[in-house]
Point group: D2
Amino acid sequence: MKTTIVAGNPKPGSRTLDAAALLARSLSGAEPDHVVDVVTLGPGLLGWGDEAVTSAVESVASSDLVVFASPTFKATYTGILKLFLDQFAGGDGLRDVVAVPLMLGAGPAHAMAPDLLLKPVLVELGATTPAPGLYLIDSTYTTDTRIAEYAERWGGIIAAAAAARTEAS
Amino acid sequence: MKTTIVAGNPKPGSRTLDAAALLARSLSGAEPDHVVDVVTLGPGLLGWGDEAVTSAVESVASSDLVVFASPTFKATYTGILKLFLDQFAGGDGLRDVVAVPLMLGAGPAHAMAPDLLLKPVLVELGATTPAPGLYLIDSTYTTDTRIAEYAERWGGIIAAAAAARTEAS
Amino acid sequence: MKTTIVAGNPKPGSRTLDAAALLARSLSGAEPDHVVDVVTLGPGLLGWGDEAVTSAVESVASSDLVVFASPTFKATYTGILKLFLDQFAGGDGLRDVVAVPLMLGAGPAHAMAPDLLLKPVLVELGATTPAPGLYLIDSTYTTDTRIAEYAERWGGIIAAAAAARTEAS
Amino acid sequence: MKTTIVAGNPKPGSRTLDAAALLARSLSGAEPDHVVDVVTLGPGLLGWGDEAVTSAVESVASSDLVVFASPTFKATYTGILKLFLDQFAGGDGLRDVVAVPLMLGAGPAHAMAPDLLLKPVLVELGATTPAPGLYLIDSTYTTDTRIAEYAERWGGIIAAAAAARTEAS
């Protein structure tokens, strides 16, 4: 199972990236195969056809499981994450990818954002999204049990969906 | 695989119900095991503890695959469907159920409603929702190929998710 | 300015109704002219043409300012509130009504529901919705300052929108 | 009344920009005072504190009426528009601004996006949003009557809300 994490935080090496790695590890039992820290792709994100951006898109599109992670900006995912998602082909850019939406916020008020706002973008790109989005508090995700509980509750379903994708290919 | 359809149309025997049955058949290859035409449950829906309502809730909760279908009223699902969904236990009322959101409308303008509005309610109830919502035009769903295409594209993933549920139980 | 409150709680005389009355009073400086405690309309809500339901719809539609209030059920407004909203004419059932979406919940996790879920239904019905939705914690709304702050911040805008409606009529 | 248009299309001088200008003109009766064609701000959008970006943010924040326009990418607004919106202060970055969400798409399927997805971001920034979002078909907006009808139906309410802002300041 090829696992990738995508972190859409304007700061490189963010807690968003760290939380995505923790979640991917909990779900797959291994380090992620690819890491896309979107901001490091730089100004190529503002146009089309940049080589590094294209390569990152291909890594994501060929993965079995991808965690898409964003901090909460203005009650939704970041512009920089959406810039990257805009680089995928509409309808099937994430075909056969099992996608998990992850968002971090300073408090609980935006807990609905992963399912109401981030997941529909992934669905539009053709991803398989069997599990609910996960929302974490950015100051406590390393010490609370939310990631472990999520993996316990949804890991089996996510693995089954990813396996169904692999067999069908 | 136990399959159930739930139709939330204020008119019994509606096209909503018919479309849900067509979709369930396309996905499972068989007639649905249970049919909940919500409006026939009557005024018991307005309170708690009605026997027929409770029995319908139990049928749905013990299913492997459920199509939740609604016409589009005021750009979203109907009040009568939500009345029925309000009868389920929060968090895990649809645990281990693979749920497919289906909506019908007179035109294409509300095509985003199944994923943005109906699916989040099912997710909140703990359902597994691997596939996108389906939106059908109520005057053409019997003659167009939308249901067949959806089943072709998503049937395998949905069956795998339902099987994962059965094995885990 | 004719002010009405609509409370969609399956229990009559609920805190939902009470909070709506407090908000209406803060916004208008007077008791609401009409109160619609939806559940008291009974089984007539399940069909069309019931006299009491029709009369309640007309009271709402002829108001200048209406607070639409709901507890949070399954992370959104209740089925019983939507049953009532389904009775209005699509597109212009709330034309020239200034509508304020209000939701109450046990905790902060569903704070996005008034703007993302309840307001769009009111917009679809043609209402004017100048202000954000308000989300209150059901155990503290009588003692915290959320209603007062909301009225202070948005009361002027809401009154101006309601006055524009009155002049235009 | 100071009017500004913001167009979040990755191509400068787009139909998105053109439609925003048409709408602003219909609503205010004059040319927009400021035009922000977001993509022309360039890589400064990817960080914080860029002079041209800051100046554009200040122009928008000090306007009475702003049309925020985006093409539909992946069933929602663009990453580049959100990059720009992420530059505003949370909570009150658009305080006292009357904001109109406008989106263009190739077909009608995404007509719900302006109200369900773009408007909530503007609300989160503190904007006043009295009118529904407008969704236009990108191939017909210059010849159909949607903009004129919208201005006829909502222009008075929008002007009243903008005037209330001006008086209160």
